[in-house]
């Protein structure tokens, strides 16, 4: 009996291959997008964990000097006081064909960790100069003087070496910081007595990649979830249609004495099989998708946060299982309604469309209520913006969900108005019919609205950001030529030459520092019109440039200004080795994850003697001649010289890269939404034959009817786009004013780009047309035959 049931069940799919394809495609797509995004997140997070586990597996605290480095004797001093600390030296160095972060550790004193474990494989070789690097880094390095071995335990872009090797390569006898072994003997003198000038950084806070990149991953997850939800709409459509079409079969099977339990079981088994097949395909697809996106994600994370993420994807069973779990859960949600209806299906009663319509009208009221409540939640969240990143995303989720739930309610109201105003009988029917079929399409339209709103919101955010960023770049990159001296000696030799050949030489000096508890940098600024004329400032005090030049205060970047809540004119900022200085103002500093402070050059040189010049920004009327002279007379390599155009190009390239993923996901989400609409329209088309047949009999051609069907889809799409516009703008505003401030530390003005909307409208129109054209085409071509059947069949 069970076997016969299955055969009956499956024969349906055999006859409705398109439906089956839709169901499988929906499930596979939902799984693919969700698991793909999760794969990206998992990979990146694994990379952060690798980076943190390198120095200590249990999470060791760090001891840091405010200057960012300390004499090696501080290590011996603390050891001789009984503290189990281990020295670490980190620094950037050219190795082979690339620049890497050298991480020098002392394996004998290091707390247990991935790095020391690697070193212990061949301790003698390690202290003699063997190093370890990620295979990807090894490829980037090519050949170098170091004996390097591959290890996935080392973050991408870093090279693990003995501290002695690191000191030799970085030409220093100092160390960066100390790791504090989590297990210390009892009875030691407290650290604040033994080393009062060293700051203890609790485990996990030193490497703040997790925190810095959280926004990025939340962003990806949100997109993944959105795509998943949209994919489920497709599944829901397909399962719903299959149920409707098999209603008669179910009834017959029940009437033949098949127990409800067996029928339920068969339906569950069927869905489970589909979920597993489609889920597996989705995982493969998701992995492919993630592999395609991974290089861009890695570049984004490296460019934006300096996070060491490899560009290649490892297979991780964790996300695969999680993805499959989501598929099963999603299928259960999408198919749950069908099961519920199966249990409530009277054995021999005809369909009762009126009851269903009433139920859907009641549902609409409930939906409006929920939408209102969620809108209220969003409003409350929006009025209390101090909740942090998670609250920001909660606000977005509530607002989007409220908007999505409101879509059928609002569309119904709009169609009802149109119906009342319609004159001709056909127009009247058109609107009435659209409204009547709205419940069947509302899920797909909600999905479309979400996708469109996300497109508008993210597009507006990116475009606003780009516009602001370009203006800012023009102001920021005023120097015609930038020169990177190879070392301090070359800098010293270059300076007089440059002074004679240019209108202005603006040296760039920098130290690493912890500012208001955040990793950051202190820069020196030479008093020059270049800065006075061009740097846009946020909340500057009066005579800000004069006071800065006089060494009376400090400028901070917007990130630090917002995160630390600094008030120019009122607050002071502590810099390493200096008394706290008044904050004079803030400046935009887009694309930089670090806190930054700027003080006058003389003050910097007094406070941090010996800090080398890292770059010269040069003002000149004839950049090409200057570049030629630098190359000819000093033999500077092309890599050491960038002109303005190159610098801008580079900055814009980094900027564009930042949003590659966002845009890719945007397009995918819109595509999935179009597919959801397609699934819903195909479903609907099957049910609508009996609704359209009378019109045909009354003298409308199938062609006319098909045209009306297309028009209806377009009108619904257009109305949905209309609803999506304000939602998208709200989304953009939340992204710019809440999420960006929380995630990156800068706030941007919202700019509106109607041209982009027109383009989106075009794309959306095409997507809707594409979705509606197959059912319409079928109606047109096979219309008469199908419509005739419409009179004969009971549905």
């Amino acid at each position: 009996m069970t076997r016969a049931t299955f055969v009956a069940f499956l024969s349906h799919w055999w006859r409705n291959k398109l439906q089956l394809a839709m169901l499988l495609a929906g499930l596979a797509l939902a799984t693919a997008l969700w698991s793909g995004v999760q794969a990206l997140n998992t990979e990146a997070r694994a990379a952060y964990a690798t980076a943190e586990a390198l120095l200590s597996e249990d999470g060791a605290a760090q001891l840091e000097h405010p200057s960012g480095q300390m004499a090696q004797d501080r290590f011996v001093e603390l050891r001789r006081a009984g503290w189990l600390v281990s020295p670490v030296l980190e620094g950037r160095a050219d190795l082979g064909e690339t620049r890497v972060t050298l991480i020098g550790i002392e394996p004998l004193t290091a707390p247990p960790g991935a790095g020391p474990a690697l070193a212990a494989q061949d301790l003698e070789g390690f202290v003699a100069g063997t190093g370890f690097a990620h295979p990807q880094t090894l490829r980037e390095i090519g050949t170098s003087a170091l004996d390097l071995r591959p290890s996935n335990a080392v973050p991408v872009g870093s090279v693990l070496v003995d501290i002695g090797t690191a000191q030799r390569l970085l030409e220093t006898d100092r160390i960066s910081h100390l790791t504090v072994n989590p297990d210390q003997p009892a009875g030691l003198r407290p650290l604040n007595e033994v080393a009062p000038d060293l700051r203890r950084i609790p485990p996990g806070e030193g490497a703040e990649l997790g925190g810095l990149t959280e926004s990025f991953h939340l962003n990806l997850t949100a997109f993944g979830l959105l795509s998943f939800a949209v994919g489920l709409f497709i599944v829901h459509s397909a399962v719903g249609l299959a149920f409707e079409q098999r209603r008669g079969m179910f009834r017959t099977l029940r009437a033949l004495g098949l127990p409800l339990r067996v029928l339920t079981l068969a339906l569950v088994a069927e869905m489970l099989v589909f979920a597993l097949i489609a889920g597996a395909a989705g995982l493969v697809l998701g992995h492919v998708l993630a592999s395609l996106l991974m290089p861009d994600v890695a570049l984004t994370l490296r460019g934006l946060y300096g996070a060491p993420v490899p560009g290649a994807l490892q297979f991780n069973p964790q996300w695969a299982l999680a993805g499959l779990g989501m598929t099963l859960a999603g299928t259960a949600i999408a198919g749950g309604q069908a099961l519920w209806r199966l249990w409530h299906l009277p054995v021999l009663a005809p369909a009762r469309p009126r009851a269903w319509a009433q139920a859907s009208r009641r549902g609409l009221r409930v939906q409006a209520g929920i939408a209102l409540a969620l809108g209220l939640v969003a409003l409350i969240l929006a009025l209390r913006p101090e909740g942090g990143l998670v609250a920001g995303f909660a606000l977005l989720a509530a607002a989007l969900l409220a908007a999505a739930l409101a879509v059928p309610v609002l569309l119904s109201a709009m169609l009802s108005v149109a119906e009342r105003r319609a004159r001709g009988p056909l127009a009247q029917w058109f609107w009435a019919d659209s409204r009547q079929n709205l419940p069947r399409l509302s899920l797909a339209l909600m999905a479309l609205m979400l996708a469109l709103a996300a497109n508008i919101g993210v597009g507006t955010m990116v475009a606003s950001f780009r516009a602001t960023f370009i203006d800012w770049l023009d102001l920021r990159l005023v120097a015609e030529v930038n020169v990177l001296p190879a070392n301090a000696e070359e800098a010293a030799r270059l300076e007089p030459f440059l002074a004679a050949r240019t209108d202005a030489v603006l040296p760039m000096l920098r130290i690493d520092a912890t500012l208001e508890g955040q990793p950051g940098q202190v820069y020196a600024m030479k008093d020059h019109a270049t800065f006075r004329d061009n740097w846009p400032l946020i909340a500057p005090v009066p005579q800000v440039w004069d006071r800065l030049a006089a060494g009376e205060g400090v400028l901070v970047n917007e990130q630090l200004y917002r995160r630390a809540g600094l008030d120019p004119g009122a607050d002071r900022l502590a810099l390493p080795g200096q008394d706290p200085l008044p904050v004079l103002g803030a400046y935009p500093d887009y694309g930089n994850p670090l806190a930054q402070a700027v003080i006058a050059l003389p003050r910097f040189q007094d406070a941090y003697p010996g800090a080398p010049v890292r770059q010269f920004a040069l003002r000149t009327d004839n950049p090409q001649a200057l570049i030629a002279a630098l190359q000819d007379e000093f033999g500077l390599s092309a890599a050491q010289i960038t002109d303005q155009a190159q610098a801008k190009e580079l900055s814009m390239a980094i900027f564009e890269r930042t949003f590659v993923i966002t845009r890719a996901l945007n397009v995918l989400t819109l595509s999935v939404a179009a597919l959801a609409l397609f699934a819903a329209l195909v479903t609907l088309a099957g049910m609508r034959l009996t609704q359209l047949a009378p019109l045909w009999a009354l003298g409308l051609t199938p062609r006319h009817l098909a045209g009306l069907e297309l028009a209806r889809a377009l009108v619904l799409g257009a109305l949905t786009l209309l609803l999506a516009l304000p939602v998208g703008l709200m989304l953009a505003q939340v992204l710019l004013a809440v999420i960006n401030v929380q995630a990156f530390g800068w706030r941007l003005p919202l700019q509106v780009f109607p041209g982009d909307w027109a383009r989106l409208a075009l794309w959306a129109g095409l997507a809707v047309l594409a979705a509606a054209s197959l059912p319409a085409l079928r109606l047109w071509r096979d219309g008469p035959a199908q419509l005739l059947r419409g009179f004969a069949h009971e549905r």
Partner: protein, 354 residues
């Protein structure tokens, strides 16, 4: 000796390189194949120079043990050791130094045994052994001279070490002279010619404080210092050793060991109360296990019968705590004992290779 040639093992364990089997038969050359100095018979020890480190030898240690009594009659044992192991026969500043240092500390009560270890590389000041003033240290663990001006640095010492849950501060005051083992400090370790330089100070009176989880304990007792350095201490077939230092109730002292191999090699020194040594050649001593203790997967002979027929010595030892296992990167048994039989007294036992 403490035959603590395991520092060689340490070197190979720690540094991952298989230790090249000590080449035999070139004792006369003065150096081995890798350029390390090799002990020479007839080279007199010189003090205070030999109290300090010998970086041109592969391995070296400063080894203090003490049998102690608390005011309430409880017995304790304390061990303080600093090992040096060289990757190359030289010293250099900073991280280029080929010297590796390891500290071991142990504290034994009848109920418990505490141990701790430390590692360091030479060249930075984290560990070392210097002569004037005498300091041997690793991190905050130290053994420093308290001797008066002009006296031998080892006449008076202070030792400190600290583990996760214990520490000790002890003063060692010598009541007799330094004692050279073997042939005026040249100590044979196998029939094939392996040897080390080896001398001791076996006559310490000890006072000080032990810090235990239950609180501080004032203690007094007897102590023993071993100094040994070498480049080739063990023959290839030698798997481990059993070593004792004994303080007799009548004021005599004795050091004895057996190296277990295809052929057991024994040696020892009988020391009169005034510090005159008599070397005991291979075969003079006989070690017989009497009772074993199961420690994890190991079966360790913690009670011994030791015979020196020629000296009419026949004693049986009893450990204060049979579970005095040093559970460290390199593990072995080391703890205080009492002995009885033809003679009675207290001492320290070390056993490796189980």
């Amino acid at each position: 000796m403490n035959a603590r040639a395991m520092v060689i093992t340490l070197a190979s364990l720690l540094l991952g390189a298989p230790y090249p089997g000590t080449a035999q038969g070139f004792a006369g050359l003065g150096t081995d194949a890798e350029g390390f100095a090799v002990p020479q018979r007839g080279t007199p020890l010189a003090f205070p120079k030999d109290h300090g480190a010998h970086p041109d030898y592969r391995i070296e240690w400063w080894y203090l043990t003490a049998t102690l009594d608390g005011a309430g009659g409880q017995e304790y044992g304390v061990q303080w050791t600093l090992f040096r192991s060289a990757l190359a026969p030289s010293e250099a500043e900073g991280w280029d130094s080929p010297q590796v240092w390891m500290g071991h500390a142990g504290l034994t009560t009848a109920e418990a045994h505490f141990s701790a270890e430390r590692f360091a590389r030479g060249g930075t000041g984290q560990a070392g052994g210097t002569i004037d003033p005498f300091v041997a240290h690793i991190d905050d663990w130290h053994m420093i001279s308290r001797a008066a001006e002009g006296a031998d640095a080892y006449d008076a010492l202070r030792a400190h070490a600290r583990g996760a849950d214990f520490s000790f501060d002890l003063d060692f005051d010598a009541e007799g002279p330094l004692v050279k083992h073997g042939d005026d400090g040249y100590s044979m370790k196998s029939a094939e010619g392996q040897a080390s330089y080896y001398y001791s100070q076996p006559f310490y009176r000890v006072t000080g404080t032990l810090h235990l989880p239950d609180g501080p304990v004032e203690v007094t007792g007897q102590g023993w210092l071993d100094r040994e350095w070498s480049s080739q201490p063990l023959a290839e077939d030698q798997a481990g050793w059993d070593w004792v230092s004994l303080s007799f109730d009548d004021g005599h002292r004795m050091m004895g060991f057996q190296l277990r191999g295809t052929q057991t090699f024994t040696a020892g020194t009988w020391i009169t109360p005034s510090g005159d040594p008599t070397p005991l050649p291979d075969g003079a001593l006989r070690f017989t296990p009497l009772a074993h203790t199961q420690i994890d997967a190991r079966r360790v002979p913690t009670s011994w019968r030791i015979e020196w027929p020629e000296g009419e010595l026949d004693i049986e030892t009893e450990p204060l705590n049979p579970r005095a296992w040093m559970d460290l990167s390199i593990s072995y048994w080391e703890g205080p004992l009492r002995f009885s039989g033809s003679h009675s007294g207290r001492g320290y036992l070390e056993m490796t290779g189980y």
